[in-house]
Amino acid sequence: MTTATEHAIGGAVPQQRHGIPAMLHDSWVIAKRNLRRMTRIPEIVVFGLMQPVMFVLLFSYVMGGAIQIPGTSASASTYTQFLMAGIFAQTVTFAVAGASAGIAEDMTKGLVDRFRSLPMTRSAVLVGRTLADLVQTAFTLVVLMIVAVLVGWRIHEGFLKALAAFGLLLLLGYAFSWIGALIGLSVRSPEAATSAGLIWLFPLTFISNAFVPVSSMPGWLQPIAYWNPFSATVQACRDLFGNQVGPVTGGWPMENAILLSVIWSVVITAGFSWLSVRKYRSAVG
């Protein structure tokens, strides 16, 4: 090792940020770190893409001809219009798995001790993670939309409304990555976090309007499906993309889907980020 006289001790910490600016700065540094990791482990992004692409192809080509949307005639292309909002929404909720596995992994490594010994905002480790996941979700969604267009999906309400739908999807994805954060902090093993992150998503996304019309479900299940936060975003996207085929059923929640979608996402984000940050603080002392 070379001589180190020029590395003399001295000089305190350069800048002090406080409150929100500090939180944003630190979160951005952590988000950069997580985004860099994604470029170093492209498998994660690639496999994250394969699953929804497969769903698009399987649902539209295999099941499309068999599922009839009330008020329309059964046809694969009608179903494709109906399906895509559901697939998009399901894809963004899968951000849960990434966040939960990533945070569980961070917690098991010595790196989290390093973060905690630094004069940084506590919540930044979680906020930075969810922001990086948001970027990944946006990327996945763009690729998925291109595939959707290739299998015949179209928007009918113009670019701006489509963009609004895109925004609602990201908002839902962001909300769900906070659920993932809480799971990751609770499970504390990356393997368990992956399955714990995914398992409840299947009932949640299937007991909804995403893949089949709710009116085809048993009566007692229908209110659950209509009030499902996930259904709100799916319906909102169908409205904004102009993908609604047949009449809207389900009453208030489905008629005010855009508003409800925003409310659900904000409430989930607020609730779960509060729980996660609290859990992180208590987990790390």
Binding site: G11, Q16, H25, L111, R114, S117, M120
Partner: protein, 335 residues
Amino acid sequence: MAPAIQAENLVKTFGDVRALDGVSLDVPEGTVLGLLGPNGAGKTTTVRVLTTLLRPDSGHAVVAGVDVLKHPNKVRSLIGLSGQYAAVDEYLTGRENLQMVGELYQMSVRDAKARARELLEWFNLDEAADRTAKTYSGGMRRRLDLAAALVVRPPVMFLDEPTTGLDPRNRLALWEVIETLVEQGTTLLLTTQYLEEADRLAHDIAVVDHGKVIARGTADELKAQIGGERVEVVVHERDDVTEALAALAPYAKGDPTLEKNTRRITIPVSGGAKVLADVIRELDSRSIVIDDIGLRRPTLDDVFLSLTGHATAAEVEEEDESQPAKGRKGHGKDA
């Protein structure tokens, strides 16, 4: 001078385990305290409390003049921590790791970059700077981790078993870095299982066992505590051992110990080299052939063993059972 690190009566329990059972210590500014103890003695827990990673159940701690429990974030900007396992992101390059830490210490991106470059050079990591840490060897990761702890030139540093698991070459290199830091005035708390490391680096040593500091002093003071010199003789013929014991008895200032397998006899003595010469003459006059003989000063190993009644994690190789276990002070709950 005010101590740079001060802990008073720290207690921390995990379930039934009393990890810290009233640890008190102080480290004067610019000095190195070696926290010595076996696995599970409470060394790491002490470091975690002092570096704000863990809240003690009770007790009080001040680091660099700041109350650890009241102003943890202030403390964090004044300390550097390097742990037992290299806390680096293996998917980031060495440079990115250091830059990230700099930015989280609230440096500007430019300063963080410049500091990263400086540290990479100092730690001989400049060639590997743009490779991911995943590709680094154990020694390189440890160096990177130590570099990360030095990003802001903290006045107080905590090194938790910095060389555990390193090969001798890397250990020596790391020791040199640590010595440089101390020359520059850094106050250091170092935990180690290696007595040699404490002997070389630490001004003061605190021996920790079962969550308590059971002895405190310089290496020499601790060694003096368990007595002075000894003569060790290895007898060539097994049959001569009994006679050799008898021959040595007049010179012994205490009970001799015998390791049967190695035919090694150890006797406490006083009088230094002269006694050694006398012993050699005596054995020679009785025609006892010896393989080895020497005058030994106590090592920290001996200190440790006599204080705790058990060896360090490195387990002193099969010691004779008659090794006395004296001076177990402050060891209340042990048998």
